[in-house]
């Protein structure tokens, strides 16, 4: 590659980096102040693109106004996103700040589902390509090459927004409050700053930035219904790599990631020591590889500081004494098992298929709950272990291993993966840890996706069915029930063992735990590995229940599903995972049949549950019992 080609590719990378920064800036701002992990940020970005398209189209039809088109479109998108963002904050998130951490995440996930269907209803299914911007629709010649004027505009726009935001944060009263709130919310509130207004303002500003980014992307990418999810993971990566809450950090991270991707494409296929490496293929995971490396070296990203993490004081409910499940729980558990046993005999064939799905989802959710509850470690990439288990079982079965032996391979393989990834992850904490689990999950996903010869690539592995007596669907559902019940009992037993108590101690007060001789990191590592193994077992069951698996078994949506199920069921409720899994799986099945707009319906259902019972469905019982006790 010549130096000229290289330089132009760097400029291309800069333009991409600018648009990435615009999205991430809003996200990092919101997180810095409110600590909300806002999955809906990508939806605001998508809304921005759609609104910009509508405004531009409306103006182009009006004679004389078409010149204003672009500016008006951008303004319209910014305002619309800000309004929607503030509504979301005031109507929904405001009610959840006191709820368990990460519950807002479930709420924002519900908003993603709703916004996508609303966009479909308003703008239709077809991609909407925006007009080129008058005055910025040509190219600037650079020797024999050329750079689009709009890219040049973006290269300038990114730093301009950075400067404006920095001035806002450094030089204004609002900025002082924002910085103070990011540092210590309690003291800011004690000093008389109206937190409610501050949060709404910050959320509106963050949302406006997402809308701006969406509008500015429109001349480069048609507005389409996949924009939300395709940007959100990247935006999180940039935010975390830069250091949570750090706007300059987000800028640097966006540059590093934008340039890395451009470089991968520029390098093309290169012969390294006789091995051909296709660098363009790396763009599939470039950002996650960057994140894994950065977090391994700098646990708080480029500019993040340990202090900017949320305080590790445990939730009020976690401070209560944990009591082992008693007779009442045993009775309920036995009742549930009996119900599952009887189901195939009482109902039609399909209900046992659904019940099997719910059981597998329960085990998957329970394994994540073990990690998030007693161990206090949040994972955004738990699907990795589910998927590794599923693939291990499928590959073993394809090698001719009997079904039960293949099934036994699943937790072992997942355990191995969790031991390796866990070693890195437990060195971090909070959202950084969660994002590193996501990075490993995405890297695993991309290996599975690319490694055609072994994993079948994007098509996956087909034809993995139960054999012998288990080939009968009723028998298989009973088998699943048996395996899942034993695994759940084991998880409950471990959670109440001295090891489990030590984990809780390490979660609630790492310093004191260390002081009494508990090796916190070793315990957490072990918990991570265990959670992985149980997820892998669920994956093995999944492979045989579906007969085929593909890379989606370890993709982001599956990790998110698990998170939502855990939080819906209640982080601390004994039957949380089974409740969450049942409501989520069964609700989806029911709604998908009832309406075309089932995603939005599911989103609304989740929002209602989250707002009415912030401690999850399982937590509702405890709350009711407590009320009855005090009455």
């Amino acid at each position: 590659m010549t130096a000229g080609a290289f330089a132009v590719q760097l400029l291309n990378g800069l333009a991409s980096a600018s648009s990435l920064f615009l999205v991430a800036a809003g996200l990092t701002l919101i997180f810095g102040v409110t600590r909300v992990v806002n999955f809906a940020h990508g939806s605001l970005y998508m809304l921005g693109a759609y609104v910009a398209w509508s405004v531009a189209e409306a103006l182009s039809a009006t004679p004389g106004a078409s010149g204003l088109g672009f500016a008006a479109a951008v303004l319209g998108a910014v305002l619309a996103a800000a309004v929607v963002g503030s509504l979301v904050e005031v109507l929904i998130l405001k009610r959840l700040y006191a709820a368990p951490e990460l519950l807002q995440l479930t709420a924002t996930f519900a908003i993603v589902l709703i916004v996508r269907d609303v966009a479909l209803a308003i703008w239709g299914a077809e991609d909407l390509l925006g007009r080129r911007v008058p005055g910025l629709d040509g190219s600037i010649p650079l020797g024999t090459r050329s750079l689009p004027e709009y890219d040049a505009f973006l290269i300038v726009a990114g730093p301009l927004v950075l400067v404006a935001l920095t001035l806002l944060v450094r030089r204004t009263r609002f900025g002082v409050q924002v910085r103070a709130a990011a540092e210590n919310r309690t003291i800011v509130a004690a000093l008389g700053v109206d937190q409610a207004k501050l949060y709404t303002a910050v959320f509106a500003l963050g949302a406006a930035l997402a809308g701006l980014a969406g509008a500015l992307q429109l001349p480069r990418e048609p507005a389409n219904l996949a924009m939300d999810l395709s940007i959100i993971a990247d935006a999180f990566v940039v935010t975390v790599v830069g250091g949570l809450g750090s706007i300059p950090g987000a800028f640097v991270a966006a540059l590093v990631i934008g340039l890395t991707k451009a470089l991968c494409i520029a390098l093309g296929s290169v012969d390294v020591a006789g091995v051909e490496i296709a660098f363009p293929k790396l763009t599939l995971v470039a950002e996650f590889v960057v994140m894994a490396i950065v977090l391994a070296v700098r646990p708080h990203g480029f500019f993040g500081t340990p202090a900017s993490l949320p305080p590790s004081t445990p939730l009020a409910e976690q401070r209560t004494l944990v009591v082992a499940p008693g007779r009442r729980e045993l009775a309920i558990g036995a009742g549930l098992v009996a119900a599952f046993v009887a189901l195939p005999l009482l109902s039609d064939e399909y209900s046992r298929v659904l019940a099997t799905d719910i059981l597998i989802a329960t085990l998957f959710a329970a394994s994540l709950r073990f990690l998030m509850g007693p161990a206090g470690l949040t994972s955004f990439g738990h699907a990795a272990y589910f998927g590794v288990g599923a693939y291990a079982a499928a590959l073993a079965a394809k090698q001719g291993l009997p079904m039960l032996a293949s099934m036994a391979v699943a937790p072992v393989a997942a355990l191995a993966a969790a031991i390796v990834f866990g070693w890195f992850c437990v060195r971090l904490s909070g959202v950084y840890l969660a994002m590193l689990t996501l990075a490993f999950a995405q890297i695993t996903w991309s290996v599975v996706f690319q490694w055609d010869a072994v994993t079948g690539g994007s098509n996956g592995i087909v034809g993995v069915w139960p054999t012998g007596t288990l080939a009968d669907a009723t028998h298989f559902s009973w088998f699943t029930l048996g395996v899942v019940s034993i695994a759940l009992l084991a998880l409950a037993r471990i959670a109440m063992s001295p090891f489990g108590q030590a984990l809780r101690g390490a979660r609630d007060s790492p310093l004191r735990a260390e002081a009494i001789g508990i090796d916190v990191r070793a315990r957490q590592w072990a918990a991570f590995a265990l959670a992985g193994a149980f997820a892998g077992l669920a994956g093995g069951l999944f492979a045989f229940s579906k007969g085929s698996i593909s890379p989606e078994t370890l993709a982001i949506p599956r990790s998110v599903d698990a998170l939502v199920m855990v939080l819906l069921g209640g982080l601390n409720a004994t039957f949380g995972p089974v409740l969450g899994a049942a409501v989520f799986t069964w609700g989806q099945d029911l709604l998908a049949r009832a309406t075309d707009y089932w995603r939005a319906a599911l989103g609304v259902a989740i929002l209602v549950i989250v707002l009415v019972v912030p401690n999850g469905i399982g937590g509702m019982w405890a709350a009711l019992r407590a009320r009855r006790g005090s009455a």
Binding site: R220, N459, G463, A592
Partner: protein, 398 residues
């Protein structure tokens, strides 16, 4: 008074009684990724509805009306298998049809094989569904990746270009298109061919750097299998950088209205594409379909409409030919089944269960601010499949 009452009773009885004979419609189970590939599947659903209405108006099949039980498969094999189970075991459908992405199609095909129920895969393009992973119960309607690539090769080989850049979305469809293109070009053009490949993540192409890299590679010609939002970004960024100037470009699926129409006046003039020029096909069969479609929906048909329409037509024809709703008889009837579609008569080959539905091959032009296909021809699917002995080797023995 009494007479009126009796007359009313009689009328009610006949009204109730008459449909009671044929009250049980034949259920067709349909599943698709409606919320993932919306742009293609909305017109597809309309096409299905139109065909269903026509079939039922003409008396249905076996003296019974047809009913489509449609489900969203969420775009993942796991959910699709569950939904298919529901259709088979709870809805008791006579056969399965639909699906879009290849991994979902393959998973449902395998389930169909296990549950011994006919499956008419409408849209998945993967070659494997009829070859490596083919089974007794699975049939596929659309022209496969292999076939559509083969349709473009004659024009590409004619140019005698040596140095090709191949851009493709990095998953099975793109990989298969790339492999087929290379293999067939090498077979046709003697020596000196050079291929530079750029794989881009599906839905997330970094179009600036990609088009710049193509320009820097200085190829003689370009072969792409991009579609959807990726294609729009590729076209715009490439035009801005002058990458397509004086270079022949071939783009699989690029002429399908779903992907061409969003480009409007920026549609890449002169590109060779496969697609569907609905505005220009004036065969009686297509005219009838187009008129009916526009009358029903006040919108023009997309390729999805053709796929949905033809799928239902094929299912109805199969049931009629079988003379029964017995799954084995329907599967047997699908072998060699001839169906009239808006593209003309097609047949499901007995050898590999692939239909001979073709595609239109032509060049892109801009007319009245819209992208259209010109100089097109219909490439009949039967002419773009490998010889029978090759197919037999590709398809596993029973």
């Amino acid at each position: 008074m009494i007479r009126t009452f009796l007359a009313a009773l009689l009328a009610a009885a006949t009204a109730l009684g008459a449909p009671a004979v044929s009250a049980q419609p034949i259920k067709l189970g349909e599943l698709n990724s409606y919320k993932v590939f919306t742009a293609f599947l909305e017109p597809y659903k309309k096409g299905m509805e139109l065909a269903l209405a026509e079939e039922n108006k003409a008396g249905g099949a076996l003296g019974r009306q047809l009913e489509i039980v449609s489900r969203d498969d969420g775009g993942t094999p796991g959910d699709a298998v569950r939904v298919a189970e529901e259709l088979v075991s709870r809805e008791r459908v006579t056969m399965l049809m639909g699906t879009f992405p290849s991994n979902v199609g393959l998973a449902v095909a395998d389930l169909a094989n296990r549950r011994k129920i006919p499956f008419l895969a409408a849209e998945p393009l993967t070659d494997k569904i009829v070859w490596e992973n083919g089974n007794e119960w699975t049939f596929r309607l659309r022209a496969s990746t292999y076939m559509q690539t083969a349709m473009l090769v004659p024009e590409a080989a004619k140019l005698g270009k040596k140095r090709w850049v191949i851009v493709y979305p990095n998953y099975e469809y793109g990989q298969a298109a790339t492999a087929t293109f290379k293999q067939q070009m090498i077979a046709r053009q003697s020596g000196g061919l050079e291929f530079i490949e750029i794989a881009t993540p599906l839905g997330k192409i970094d179009a600036g750097p990609v088009t710049q890299a193509i320009a820097d590679a200085k190829p003689d010609a370009i072969f792409s299998s991009l579609f959807g939002a990726d294609l729009a970004r590729f076209v715009r960024e490439g035009n801005l950088r002058g990458v397509f100037k004086d270079r022949p470009v071939f783009n699989l699926l690029g002429g399908e209205p779903e992907y061409l129409d969003p480009l409007k006046d920026e549609a890449p003039t002169g590109w060779w594409v496969t697609g569907y020029p609905w505005y220009g096909i004036d065969t009686p069969a297509h005219k009838r379909f187009r008129d009916a479609y526009q009358a029903a929906f006040n919108d023009y048909p997309r390729l999805g409409s053709i796929v949905g329409y033809s799928t239902v037509k094929a299912a109805a024809a199969a049931i009629r030919k079988a003379g029964s709703t017995d799954p084995a008889k329907i599967a047997a009837a699908l072998k060699g089944l001839q169906v009239d579609t808006p593209f003309g008569r097609i047949a499901f080959r007995a050898i590999d269960h692939q239909s001979t539905m073709g595609a239109y091959v032509g060049k892109v032009a801009v007319r009245d601010g819209k992208g259209v296909m010109v100089d097109w021809r219909y490439a009949d699917g039967k002419d773009y499949l490998p010889p029978d002995d090759v197919v037999r080797k590709l398809r596993p023995a029973k």
